[in-house]
C-alpha cells in the first residue's frame, strides 16, 4: 500500500532527527520516559541519545506514567522543554489526570504555561492487540488547553515535532507505529517547522473531499488513485493537527466539492469524525450535495488475531465504496 524510496529519511528517523536537532540547539530540551536511555526506547527513537546528551537530559524513569507526565509539567513550568515518551500511546491513560487536569488547565486557571510534549506511539496494523494499538486522540480532543498533532509523513513528523517542542502549550504528539519504517521522504537539510493548526491539501480534487490524518492518509491516497481511474476526482485533506482543528481548510474543501467522507482509525462513536461532521452540518449544510459519511473503526477494542484486526481497521475498499455511493448523488 505504501511505496518507500531508498536513501531517504523514514518517519521514525524524522522523529529522531527532530529531537536531536532541538536538543542540540536548546539546552532546555530534555527527554524522559521508560527505557529511552541505553536501550534507546522500545522503538529505538532515542538510540544513542544518552551517549550524546548524558544521563540528566535523557532520563530513564520508573514505570510511572502519571509521575513522569507530572514531572514534565513541573519542569516545564520552571522553564524547561521536556519531551515525555509514552512507550505506547495506550499507557497514556495512566497519566490521564496530569494531562487533562494539570497540564491542560494550568494556563487558563492561573496563567502558567506548560510547554510540554508527550510523544505517544499509537495505532494498529502491527498486531499489538487491545493494549498496544490504541488511538487515544478523542479523549484529549475533548479537553480544552491541549494541542494534538498526528503527522502522516516524515516531513510532517519532523516539522510538527519541532513546532511542538517550541510551542508554549502542552502538545500530544501522536506518532503512528505502522508508519515508522514504512514511509520515507527526502527532507530539507535546513531547519523547518510545520505550523501547528494547519491542515494540508494532500491531493486536490473536485468531486468529493476525504478528510483524514495519520496512517489513514496513505489509504486515502491509494483510494484516490483508483477513483481517478473511474472518473471520480477526490480531494484529500490531511488534518496533521487535530487540536486546534483547522476548520477553515476543512470547510473550504467541502464548500468546493459539496461531498465529504471523514476517515479515521479511531473508534467511530465520539471520535474526531463526529465533531467534524457536526461542524459541517452546522456551518456548511447549504453546500452539501450528499450525506456526510464517516469511515472509522467499529466500537470495539482493537483485536489481536490477524483476521479480526483486518476486519477492524478501515480499508481502501471502504473508501471506494463510500466514494462511489457519494458519486451517485
Amino acid at each position: 500500500m505504501i511505496t518507500a524510496t531508498d536513501h531517504e529519511t523514514t518517519y521514525l528517523e524524522a522523529i529522531s532527527e527532530a529531537l536531536d536537532e532541538e536538543m542540540e540547539k536548546d539546552d532546555r530540551v530534555f527527554i524522559l520516559g521508560e527505557d529511552i536511555g541505553p536501550y534507546g526506547g522500545a522503538f529505538r527513537v532515542t538510540e544513542g541519545f544518552q551517549e550524546k546528551y548524558g544521563e540528566w537530559r535523557v532520563l530513564d524513569t520508573p514505570l510511572a506514567e502519571s509521575g513522569i507526565v507530572g514531572a514534565g509539567i513541573g519542569a516545564a513550568m520552571m522553564g524547561m522543554r521536556p519531551v515525555v515518551e509514552m512507550q505506547f500511546a495506550d499507557f497514556i491513560s495512566c497519566a490521564f489526570d496530569q494531562i487533562t487536569e494539570m497540564a491542560a488547565k494550568n494556563h487558563y486557571r492561573w496563567g502558567a504555561a506548560v510547554p510540554l510534549v508527550i510523544r505517544a506511539p499509537y495505532g494498529g496494523g502491527v498486531h499489538g492487540g487491545p493494549f498496544h494499538s490504541a488511538c487515544p486522540e478523542a479523549w484529549f480532543f475533548h479537553t480544552p488547553g491541549l494541542k494534538i498533532v498526528a503527522p502522516s509523513t516524515p516531513y510532517d513528523a519532523k516539522g510538527l515535532l519541532k513546532a511542538a517542542i517550541r510551542d508554549e502549550n502542552p502538545v500530544i504528539y501522536l506518532e503512528h507505529k505502522f508508519l515508522y519504517r514504512r514511509v520515507k521522504d527526502k527532507l530539507p537539510p535546513d531547519d523547518y517547522i510545520v505550523p501547528i493548526g494547519e491542515a494540508e491539501i494532500k491531493r486536490s480534487g473536485a468531486d468529493l473531499s476525504l478528510i483524514t490524518y495519520g496512517a489513514m492518509v496513505h489509504l486515502g491516497l491509494e483510494a484516490a488513485d483508483i477513483l481517478a481511474g473511474e472518473g471520480i476526482d477526490m480531494e484529500l485533506v490531511d488534518l496533521r493537527t487535530l487540536s486546534p482543528l483547522d476548520k477553515e481548510t476543512i470547510m473550504t474543501s467541502v464548500r468546493k466539492t459539496s461531498k465529504v467522507i471523514i476517515l479515521h482509525e479511531d473508534n467511530k462513536t465520539g471520535g474526531i469524525g463526529a465533531e467534524i461532521s457536526a461542524i459541517l452540518a452546522e456551518q456548511c449544510f447549504g453546500f452539501l450535495d450528499g450525506p456526510i459519511l464517516r469511515i472509522a473503526a467499529p466500537d470495539t477494542p482493537v483485536p489481536y488475531s490477524p483476521p479480526l484486526e483486518e476486519q477492524y481497521l478501515p480499508k481502501v475498499s471502504d473508501i471506494l465504496a463510500a466514494a462511489r455511493q457519494l458519486a451517485t448523488y
Binding site: 510511572a64 513541573g74 494550568n106 494556563h107 487558563y108 504555561a113
Partner: protein, 327 residues
C-alpha cells in the same frame, strides 16, 4: 537550637494572620457571600507557616488546600486571596478558579488541582529541573493523609528518591480524609512508613508546634539543597473544621476535638514565646489587632474589586494562541 525572638515572632504573626483570614473566610461563607466552597486550615496553620518560612525566596512551593499560611508567607496578599474567594478579577486566577486554588509563578507558588497528590509529581519535576541545571533551589510540597493513598503520591516519592531530587514532602496528617478516618485509609500506624519504603528518610513532627515544624523543615531543606535528596515529614495534627465549611463533621468525636483544642498551634506558640521571655499578653494583643486591621483592609479591597467581564471566559485556554479557539 532555640529560635531567635524575631524568628518566633514572625512565625507567630503568620499563624495569627492565617487564622484571622480563614476565620473571615468562614464568616463570609456562612453569610452566603462566597459563591463556591471554602476550605480552611483551622488548627493546622503551623504546618504551612513553618515550612514556608524555612524556604528561600527563589525556592518553590507546591502546596495543597490546607496551606493558607504558605500562600501568605510567599507574599500573596489577604486581599488577593479574598478576591479569589469572591470570584473577583483581582484574584490570582482572575475568577477562573476559586477558593485556595491559588498560584503565582512570580512568587514561586504552584497552583494545586483538586485531584489530591497530583501536585507531588509536579513538585518533583520542578526539583528535577533544578538538578538538571545545577541550581541549589528546593521544592516543598504537601498533601494530606488522604492524598497519601493516591498513586501519584507513590510515583512522586519513588521518582524523587531514585534521582535524589531536592524536594521535601510534607504530609498533613489530620486524621480524616473528608469523613474517612485513618484506620480505613491505611494499615500502617504512620504515613511516614510509606515514605520509608521508597528509601528516603522520614520524620514525624508535632504539626501543631510551629517552632518544631520550622526546625524540621529547615534541616530537610538544607539536606535537599546539599544534594542529599528528598525527606518526608509527617505532621500529626487535627482538622478542627469540616472537610469544607459546608461540612459539620459530626463523624468526628467531640472529645477528640476538645483534646486537640488544648493543643492549638497559636496557643502553643504563645506558651513558647512566654516561656522564652520573648513576648507576653500585650504583644499578642497587639499582633491580633494588627492582623485584624489587615484583614479588614483585605475585605474592603476584595469587595470593591470588579467581577470579571463575561467575555473573559474565552481567554487563556492556550498560551500564545496561534489559532482562534472559539468560534
Amino acid at each position: 537550637m532555640e529560635l531567635t525572638r524575631p524568628e518566633l515572632l514572625q512565625l507567630y504573626y503568620y499563624l495569627r494572620l492565617t487564622r484571622a483570614l480563614e476565620d473571615r473566610v468562614t464568616a463570609l461563607y456562612r453569610q452566603g457571600r462566597i459563591v463556591g466552597g471554602a476550605y480552611t486550615s483551622h488548627g493546622m496553620e503551623a504546618i504551612s507557616v513553618g515550612y514556608a518560612l524555612a524556604l528561600e525566596p527563589d525556592d518553590i512551593i507546591a502546596p495543597y488546600h490546607r496551606d493558607m499560611g504558605a500562600f501568605l508567607v510567599r507574599g500573596m496578599t489577604p486581599g488577593e486571596i479574598l478576591a479569589q474567594y469572591l470570584g473577583k478579577r483581582t484574584g490570582p486566577t482572575k475568577g477562573k478558579d476559586g477558593n485556595v486554588h491559588l498560584g503565582d509563578l512570580s512568587k514561586g507558588i504552584f497552583a494545586f488541582v483538586s485531584h489530591l497528590a497530583d501536585n507531588l509529581p509536579v513538585a518533583v519535576g520542578a526539583a528535577l529541573s533544578f538538578k538538571i541545571r545545577g541550581e541549589s533551589r528546593v521544592v516543598v510540597t504537601n498533601t494530606g493523609d488522604g492524598g497519601s493513598s493516591r498513586g501519584d503520591f507513590h510515583e512522586a516519592l519513588n521518582l524523587a528518591a531514585v534521582r535524589k531530587l531536592p524536594v521535601v514532602f510534607f504530609c498533613n496528617n489530620n486524621q480524616y480524609a473528608y469523613s474517612t478516618p485513618l484506620r480505613l485509609q491505611m494499615a500502617v500506624p504512620d504515613v511516614v512508613e510509606r515514605a520509608k519504603a521508597y528509601g528516603m528518610p522520614g520524620e514525624i513532627v508535632d504539626g501543631n508546634d510551629v517552632a518544631k515544624v520550622y526546625q524540621v523543615a529547615q534541616s530537610a531543606i538544607y539536606r535537599a539543597r546539599s544534594g542529599e535528596g528528598p525527606t518526608f515529614i509527617e505532621c500529626k495534627t487535627m482538622r478542627m473544621h469540616g472537610h469544607s465549611e459546608h461540612d459539620a463533621a459530626r463523624y468526628v468525636p467531640r472529645e477528640l476535638l476538645d483534646e486537640w483544642k488544648k493543643k492549638d498551634p497559636i496557643l502553643k506558640a504563645e506558651q513558647l514565646l512566654t516561656q522564652l521571655g520573648y513576648a507576653g499578653q500585650s504583644d499578642f494583643q497587639e499582633i491580633e489587632e494588627r492582623v485584624e486591621k489587615e484583614i479588614d483592609a483585605a475585605i474592603e479591597f476584595a469587595e470593591n474589586s470588579p467581577l470579571p467581564d463575561p467575555s473573559e471566559v474565552y481567554d487563556g485556554v492556550y498560551a500564545n494562541p496561534r489559532v482562534e479557539v472559539h468560534s
